[in-house]
Each structure stands twice: as structure tokens, then as C-alpha cells.
């Protein structure tokens, strides 16, 4: 990959080193401007409540304290530990569903021959464009009639039916790149479609499964609209809903606590980013992702 990058044209500059330095300065400046707000939030979360506002745009608190974290954690009737646990359970179950269902379906589209495959594939791609608002209200009526409002089922169960076509598309692209000779040889040996899927395709597809899992986890973790609609009782809240209640209940007096909880809510995403950013970026570059 680096070789390809290094062959990029220099656009005929006569002072490559000088322009190189200028370019780094510009890029570092942009990075700084982009990251500054996040650092400001982090710094704000470490300040005492009295100090936070009054237009201090600096990053250095006069006094560092973690009281915003301990106060914020217990700032609502139910503490944030419960919200984090809820979010974690929902995100993990949703991720398992997405990866499992999407890989089964993608295997069918990429590898099996059956009547109507092209038709279903086109329909599946069509749902990529469909805004979820159009299914929102009937789905709500459906889940309500099942008595699932204020439970996590509406947030988890649809993923086991591969409703997010994006993941199917991502995996189809990858599965098509696996040499067909592998499954043809296995079929000669009498392997069933299931065994080929389980023993050949899945083990060779770890990168794309990981990419799908990571995006699925992050999107579920960050999802606000779904929990906002379906979850009403605080003990079932996700972290995002907890933050929202915190804004409503605290007003402007305890912004440092709100910042502290906001920072904590980003920590899981940030950790995933640190460890898996390569997979994330390749996932986007190869398929073109919405966000």
C-alpha cells in the first residue's frame, strides 16, 4: 500500500522538501483544529463546576478534579453503570445478529445459485436507499402489539433478520473475492452448502466479519433514535438516552458532569478506533460507507 502511495505524482514541484514541510504544517493545523473541541470537552470534564464557563477556551484547568465523573455517574436516579451495561448488552446482541444474518444471506447471494437470485439481490440493494422512517410507524405498531415497547427486543431482534442491507452488501463484495475453486472442490468431496459456509467461507472472511462487527457495534452504541422511541423506563436506558436525560435534568449548572459522562460514552468507540482503525478505514475505502 505504501508503495502505491509513494508513486503518486509530485505535480512537478521544484522544492519538494519545502512544500513537504508546508504541507505537514497545514495538515497538523487542520488536525489540531479538528481535535481541539474534543480536548476541550475532556479538559472541561476535569474542571470544578465553578470554573467551566465564562468563555474559557483554553485547555488547561486551574485545578484538576475528577469530581465531575463521580457526581455525574450518580447524577440520575439510576447510575450510569446501568446504562453502560444496557448499551453493552444491546450492542453485543445486535452485533452478533448482524454478522450472523448478513453472512448467511451474503453467502446465498455470492455463492449459491437459485431461482430469482438477481431479483432478490436488486431488491436488497433497493432497501439500502430506503429511509427507515418509512417503516418506522408500522414497526412501532407491530412491536407495540407484541408488547415489546420498553424492552430491548425492537432494538435487537431486527438485526437477526438482516434488515441492514449495508452489511449484506459489504460481505457479498468480500465473498465474491474468495476463489470459487475452493467451494467447488469441497462440493466434489460431498460437502454441503452449510459446511462450505461454515468451514471455508467464514474462516477466510475474518477481516470482513470483523469490519461488519465493529461498525455494527459502534452504530448500535451510538444509536439514539431507536432507544428514544422504544425505551421509556430509565432502568432500560442506553447511555445515549442517559446523556439526554442528564441534559434535561441538570440544566447549565453541572456542565462539567455532563461533559464527564459524554467523555465516558465515547471511550468504547475511541478504544475500538485505536485498535481497529485500519479495518474501519479499509472497510470504508472498499465499499464506500454512509458515514
Amino acid at each position: 500500500m505504501t508503495d502505491a502511495v509513494q508513486q503518486m505524482p509530485g505535480h512537478g514541484s521544484s522544492h519538494p522538501r519545502l512544500t513537504g514541510t508546508v504541507r505537514h504544517v497545514v495538515l497538523i493545523a487542520i488536525c489540531f483544529v479538528m481535535i481541539y473541541p474534543i480536548l476541550w470537552m475532556l479538559s472541561g470534564s476535569l474542571r470544578p463546576a465553578s470554573e467551566l464557563f465564562g468563555g474559557d477556551a483554553g485547555l488547561i484547568p486551574s485545578q484538576v478534579t475528577v469530581e465531575a465523573y463521580s457526581n455525574g455517574w450518580f447524577g440520575l436516579q439510576i447510575n450510569f453503570g446501568q446504562f453502560f451495561l444496557n448499551s453493552l448488552i444491546i450492542a453485543v446482541l445486535a452485533t452478533i445478529g448482524n454478522v450472523l444474518a448478513a453472512s448467511l444471506v451474503a453467502y446465498a447471494f455470492a455463492r449459491l445459485e437459485f431461482w430469482g437470485r438477481g431479483f432478490w439481490f436488486a431488491l436488497m440493494l433497493g432497501t439500502l436507499m430506503l429511509p427507515y422512517h418509512v417503516t418506522l410507524i408500522p414497526q412501532y405498531v407491530l412491536f407495540r402489539s407484541l408488547d415489546w415497547v420498553n424492552t430491548w427486543w425492537p432494538l435487537i431482534l431486527p438485526k437477526y433478520f438482516a434488515v441492514d442491507a449495508f452489511f449484506i452488501f459489504l460481505m457479498v463484495q468480500f465473498f465474491r473475492g474468495i476463489p470459487k475453486e475452493l467451494d467447488e472442490a469441497a462440493r466434489m468431496d460431498g460437502c454441503s452448502a452449510w459446511r462450505i459456509y461454515w468451514k471455508i467461507i467464514l474462516p477466510l472472511s475474518m477481516p470482513v466479519l470483523a469490519t461488519a462487527a465493529i461498525f455494527s457495534f459502534i452504530w448500535t452504541w451510538e444509536d439514539f433514535f431507536g432507544p428514544l422511541i422504544y425505551i421509556s423506563e430509565m432502568r432500560n436506558y442506553t447511555v445515549q438516552l442517559g446523556l439526554r436525560s442528564f441534559i434535561d435534568s441538570s440544566g447549565t449548572s453541572s456542565w462539567n458532569e455532563l461533559f464527564a459522562m459524554s467523555v465516558l460514552s465515547l471511550v468504547p468507540i475511541f478504544l475500538i478506533f485505536l485498535f481497529f482503525q485500519r479495518l474501519l478505514i479499509e472497510g470504508i475505502a472498499t465499499t464506500g460507507m454512509k458515514r
Binding site: P9, L104, F114, P138, F161, A193, I284
Partner: protein, 293 residues
């Protein structure tokens, strides 16, 4: 016999999606199309009222007009700015430079965090009357307005938030730029073409499929934006409807006022807008998108 078995295996693997498609996508979509012609408050059975919801939208609903205006402003400002910025940074990055993976990762981070409530909380405070932005302006002796609570500015704070997340189209641009053969630039340089001319005659045409893709995706996403407007305005879309995104209005109608028939109609208008936009974009591709044969 084998054909039947083959079909059976195919449909077995397809079955999760088929069930989901019929029960959670197609069925509900058709149901909401029907509901859009009814009055429905969730407690009583839907009452068929013909096209009244749609008529009311265009003739007697100032909030619909307001939300449409806000959303169009958001789309028209945020998408071109975001894509221009993404392309500019991608072009700076795209020249075999040291630290590329690090820069790319840092630029991408806001895209990853961007839709969470925490970032909307942060934005609300950045642009508050006593927030960071005004703190910086004060260093230069400028007294900034209260961006969030001023209806003239509030929508533009959301535009800035969107542009801040330029990382993911940037990565797609980077991948596209890498596909352009370097010898085209070398030949152009030998012929004395200036960098600006190379950009207009080589980079832009060859990148146009990627630009087209990014444009369609980003416009659709912009129409669907919800969380930042909800958090910044406390769910109201205020001040004076200035951040009343279309999806926020749809949410209010459906889940605050339980006018679910009307909300369904709003959803189908959104589908129509996205469909018309997408179709229009595809129709215009022959004039500006360059595909290799």
C-alpha cells in the same frame, strides 16, 4: 432434483433476510403508505381520510414548510462544503507523504464519533453564549452572539458539525485518487500543463464517479440527520423552528402528538424527495460523470 435442492439451499440461507424484508421492510412500508391516507392516533383504528394529510402539508402547515426550508438549507450548505473539504484534504494527503495513516485516522475520528449524543452536547456548549467559540473570539476583542439560541445562526452550527465529519468521504476520495494512473499526470506535466489545469482536466473527470457516489450518499444522509438537532434544541427544533430538521418534525408529529397518519405521510414525502433527487442525479450523470469503458 439437484435444481430443487440447490434452490432449497439458496432460499434457506436467504430466509433470514426474506423474513426481515417482508415483515420488517416491505410490509411496514406498504402499511405506512396506507396510514399516510388516514388519521391514526395509535389508540383508535386508522380512519381513512383520502389525501387530506398531503393536502394539509402543502396548504395549511407552516411547520412543514419551516422544516423543509431548514433541511434544504442544511443539505445545500453542508454537503458541498463537506465534499469540497474532503476532496481538498484528500488531495493534500494523496502524495506519498510521511504520516499518512496517522493523518487519515485523525481526520476520520470525527466521522466515527459524530452521531453520538456526546458530540451534540459538546457542540451545544462550543457555540453557547459563554462557550469555546466565543471565548476564542473574545481574545480578538469580538463579542460573539449566542450561536445556538439565535435563530439566524443555529442551523449553521449544525452545518459546521456536519463539515467537521468530512473524514469518511475523504477516505473514499483517497481510494478514488489512488486509481488514477500516475503516468497521466506525468504526461500532462511534460506537456506543460499547470497543476490547476491537471486538476480540472485529469483529477476531476477521473474522480467524477467517486464524487457522484459521495454526493448521493451524503445528500441522503443529510436529509436523514436527526440527533444533533434534537439534542441542540432539546427536542423542540427551536429557536423559532430554526433547527427543525424534517426528521425531527416527523418524530414530533408521530411520537409527541401521536399523529401517526400524518407522520407516515411525512415519511413518504421524504422517500419521494430522496427518490427524485437520486433519479435526477443518475439522469445527469451522462453530462458530468466520466466512466471508463
Amino acid at each position: 432434483m439437484t435444481a430443487i435442492r440447490r434452490n432449497g439451499a439458496g432460499y434457506l440461507f436467504l430466509s433470514p433476510w426474506l423474513i426481515g424484508f417482508f415483515c420488517l421492510t416491505l410490509g411496514p412500508a406498504l402499511a405506512s403508505l396506507y396510514l399516510s391516507f388516514t388519521r391514526f392516533d395509535l389508540l383508535n383504528a386508522p380512519e381513512f381520510i383520502g389525501a387530506q394529510n398531503y393536502v394539509r402539508m402543502v396548504t395549511a402547515d407552516p411547520k412543514f414548510a419551516a422544516s423543509m426550508k431548514v433541511t434544504l438549507i442544511y443539505v445545500v450548505f453542508s454537503v458541498p462544503l463537506k465534499l469540497a473539504f474532503a476532496l481538498a484534504v484528500a488531495m493534500v494527503l494523496n502524495r506519498g507523504m510521511r504520516g499518512l495513516p496517522v493523518y487519515r485516522a485523525i481526520f476520520y475520528l470525527p466521522s466515527l464519533l459524530g452521531t453520538s449524543v456526546a458530540i451534540a452536547v459538546l457542540w451545544r456548549q462550543l457555540f453557547a453564549a459563554d462557550g469555546m467559540v466565543n471565548g476564542i473570539l473574545a481574545q480578538f476583542g469580538i463579542i460573539g452572539p449566542s450561536w445556538i439560541s439565535n435563530p439566524n445562526y443555529s442551523i449553521y452550527t449544525l452545518v459546521v458539525l456536519s463539515v467537521w465529519q468530512f473524514g469518511s468521504p475523504m477516505i473514499i476520495f483517497l481510494a478514488g485518487l489512488r486509481q488514477i494512473p500516475t503516468d497521466m499526470y506525468e504526461a500532462a506535466s511534460l506537456d506543460g500543463a499547470s497543476p490547476a489545469r491537471q486538476f480540472w482536466r485529469i483529477t476531476l473527470p477521473l474522480l467524477s464517479p467517486v464524487i457522484f457516489f459521495n454526493l448521493v450518499i451524503q445528500v441522503i444522509e443529510a436529509f436523514k440527520a436527526f440527533t444533533p438537532a434534537f439534542v441542540i434544541s432539546g427536542g423542540s427544533g427551536g429557536p423559532i423552528n430554526s433547527t427543525l430538521f424534517y426528521t425531527l418534525y416527523l418524530y414530533q408529529e408521530g411520537f409527541s402528538y401521536f399523529r401517526m397518519g400524518y407522520a407516515s405521510a411525512l415519511a413518504w414525502v421524504l422517500v419521494a424527495i430522496i427518490a427524485v433527487f437520486t433519479a435526477f442525479s443518475f439522469l445527469t450523470t451522462k453530462y458530468w460523470v466520466h466512466y471508463d469503458d
